[in-house]
């Protein structure tokens, strides 16, 4: 039977057995203790009576004893007595025929229960016997055994019932989990393990599994997104390239052909750049670079990049100023951070009109160390701001400017790798791109996570 193979049923059975055994042991101990106490009490009473009669004999003589025994025999609830002559003949009382002095337990014809007796020899060779039926003890036995029998049955019923209930509940929740897993296997990737909200261990386990499933599905989404992006955004330039090459076949004259081929090569270069950028983002997102993190001085980065791009900015009649603050050192990958900052600067250079001013800075505030590029250009509509970090996302008015739409996506990927946040803000006017590094990044986070996208076309 399936039910008895389940762990919870086995546990319930075990607990019920242990509890039942405990009840039995408890009952036996209680019975023995009560019996022993009762017997002691009985013996004490018998002994007291025997001593009292012996005292009577000493003061009143044999006559006194005879009277006392006879009177007690008539009293209900009293003990049993017997007085024997030196020849063993019964003189008074109901007990007789006991020859040996001392304690004894014996069965007397006419009594349903055993008898506890004390026999003492009095002066003159006479013998006094005091006894009491052990009926009380057997009554106590019956009461105790009955009570513990009920308790035992109760424990058994309660144990079995709660064991079944518990195991059914646990089994139900396990089958819910297993059902959710099966549904996911069958393709319903949105299914999650239902939680009770009770905050118990199974809920905690379910919540952990759900978080894992969320992470997996996020990775799947990003993978699907990348393939869709590649399919859509490379089709256009590839089609254009094809048309150019077809046109060059029919172009008249060597010079026209050379020009067409050069244009085709330029197109091809752009396509390869897009591929390289996509792969680079994928690699960064795989997180394998964390192992090589070193201290990086963000201010030095700002100085280098601003110095490198200053002349180009001036050539386009824009101004570029560096605002490197001291003490902006983070743990990271210098090459990737440089590229992220370069992409932020190029984004600003490309999407602002001549005459704009671009500020490149680094610093540290209450939120942590940061890199910032701010321009005073036209900015972007508020509802499109968060989407600018998406791959291939471009503002409507930027469609005609050169660029792959991957620059800020790489910035976001580099930020994620560093557990930093990439933020876009309306600089009123203009656009502000900022990477904020979390304060005191714990080093344990530097463990590279599984390289899910590492094999995405990347060969080594």
């Amino acid at each position: 039977m399936r039910l008895f193979r389940s762990d919870s049923v086995r546990l319930a059975t075990l607990y019920t057995t242990v509890f039942s055994l405990a009840v039995i042991v408890l009952g036996a101990v209680a019975l023995l203790a009560a019996r022993s106490a009762l017997k002691h009490q009985l013996d004490a009473r018998i002994q007291a009576e025997a001593l009292a009669l012996a005292q009577e004999y000493r003061t009143e003589g044999i006559k006194g004893v005879l009277d006392a025994v006879e009177e007690r025999d008539r009293t209900p609830g009293a003990l049993d007595y017997g007085l024997l002559g030196e020849d063993g003949r019964p003189l008074a009382g109901r007990l007789s025929g006991v020859s040996r002095p001392g304690w004894a337990t014996l069965r007397i014809p006419g009594h349903s229960d055993e008898l506890r007796i004390l026999s003492i020899t009095m002066p003159g060779g006479r013998r006094l016997i005091v006894g009491e039926s052990l009926q009380q003890v057997s009554v106590l036995d019956g009461v105790l055994v009955g009570a513990f029998g009920f308790a035992f049955l109760g424990v058994l019923v309660l144990g079995v019932a709660s064991g079944f209930a518990l195991s059914r509940e646990v089994q139900r929740r396990f089958s819910e989990m297993s059902g959710a897993a099966q549904a996911i296997i069958d393709g319903d990737l949105g299914r999650r393990i239902p939680l009770r909200g009770a905050g118990d261990d199974l809920d905690a386990l379910g919540a952990t599994f759900n978080r894992m499933l969320d992470r997996i599905s996020a990775l799947m989404d990003s993978l699907r997104q990348v393939s869709n992006d590649i399919a859509h955004d490379l089709r256009t330039p590839l089609t254009r390239l094809k048309q150019r090459l077809e046109a060059s076949l029919s172009a008249g004259g060597a010079e026209a052909q050379t020009m067409a081929i050069e244009a085709a090569l330029a197109d091809l270069g752009a396509i390869l750049d897009t591929f390289a950028a996509l792969l680079r983002i994928a690699q960064i997102e795989a997180g394998t670079r964390r192992a090589g993190f070193r201290s990086v001085d963000l201010s030095a980065l700002v100085t280098t990049v601003a110095e490198a791009f200053g002349p180009s900015a001036e050539e386009g009649r824009r101004t570029l100023s560096a605002e490197p603050a001291a003490s902006a050192v983070v743990d990271g990958d210098a090459e990737l951070l440089t590229q992220a900052l370069v992409n932020m600067v190029e984004n600003a250079l490309r999407h602002t009109p001549p005459g704009s001013h671009i500020r490149v800075g680094a610093g540290r505030d209450e939120r942590g160390a940061f890199l910032i590029v701010r321009d005073d250009g036209p900015g972007a509509p508020a509802d499109e701001l968060p989407r600018l970090f998406d791959r291939f996302y471009r503002l409507e008015r930027s469609r005609s400017t050169p660029g792959s739409g991957l620059g800020l996506a790489l910035v976001a990927a580099v930020a994620r790798l560093h557990d930093a946040r990439a933020e876009l803000r309306d600089a009123e006017p203009g656009l502000e791109v900022r990477i904020i590094f979390a304060q005191e990044r714990p080093r344990t986070l530097a463990i590279p996570n599984a390289g899910v996208m590492r094999d995405a076309g990347y060969s080594r």
């Binding site: 690699q283 670079r289 110095e307 002349p311 050539e315 440089t338 060969s459």
Partner: protein, 225 residues
């Protein structure tokens, strides 16, 4: 110069052989890692162009092996598009330079030429001269004829790099790597603008233009007389 190309893809290899031959080099080709290792270890070459992905042993293993065997010939490692960590790994294995596929042939040629005549470290000069242009690496000063030329630090670095490779083509990416340490390709013409500023300081108003643009390849400093 005598070169060795270790490349398993026949089409790429044929293209490289033809182009390098046209550029005046003697070229051997090995199509597998094993052949490449045997040739590289056995014959003296001026430069070895090594594909990273090969039928075993792979490029990295070959570099390590020949370096361990004492072969000093400069090695240019070629790799497939994308690997971020590959450059560091390649250089650590003992390669001298690194090029990501697909590459322009002019880039490969420029790097091969630069590698072939790279002076050993102990012979690094402290002063460079091209025509009447003098650059002192210790005093960090530049003079043309008798006139002193004031350069920004980056312009000085660019000029020094060009002069070290005098007479040879220096590509845009070579400058990006050596002067700025940028191992990626910015989409902005930062090299062009810096070189044009440098050129205006070095060559403006002079009869002889020392810094020349090599179309589709890069820059070259030479005394044209």
């Amino acid at each position: 110069m005598k070169l060795l190309v270790v490349e398993d893809d026949d089409e790429t290899a044929a293209f490289l052989l033809r182009a390098l031959h046209e550029a005046g080099h003697v070229v051997d080709r090995a199509a597998s890692g094993r052949d490449g290792l045997l040739l590289a270890a056995g014959e003296p070459y001026d430069v070895i162009v090594l594909d990273r992905m090969l039928p075993p042993p792979d490029g990295l293993t070959i570099v390590r092996t020949i370096r361990a065997a004492g072969v000093k010939a400069p090695v240019l490692l070629l790799t497939a598009l994308g690997g971020i960590d590959d450059r560091v790994e390649g250089l650590e294995a003992g390669a001298d330079d690194y090029l990501v596929k697909p590459f322009a042939f002019s880039e490969l040629l420029a790097r091969v030429n630069a590698l072939a005549r790279r002076p050993p470290p102990q012979e690094a000069p402290t002063a460079l001269q091209v025509g009447d242009l003098n650059l002192d690496l210790l005093k960090r000063s530049v003079t043309r004829g008798r006139a002193r030329i004031e350069l920004q630090p980056r312009e000085f670095q660019i000029l020094a790099f060009l002069m070290r490779n005098a007479g040879r083509v220096v590509t845009r990416t070579m400058l990006l790597e050596s002067v700025w340490g940028f191992h990626f390709d910015p989409k902005t013409n930062i090299v062009e603008t810096h070189v044009s500023r440098l050129r205006s300081k070095v060559d403006r108003g002079r009869g002889v233009q020392l810094i020349q643009t090599v179309r589709g390849a890069g820059y070259c400093i030479r005394d044209s007389e």
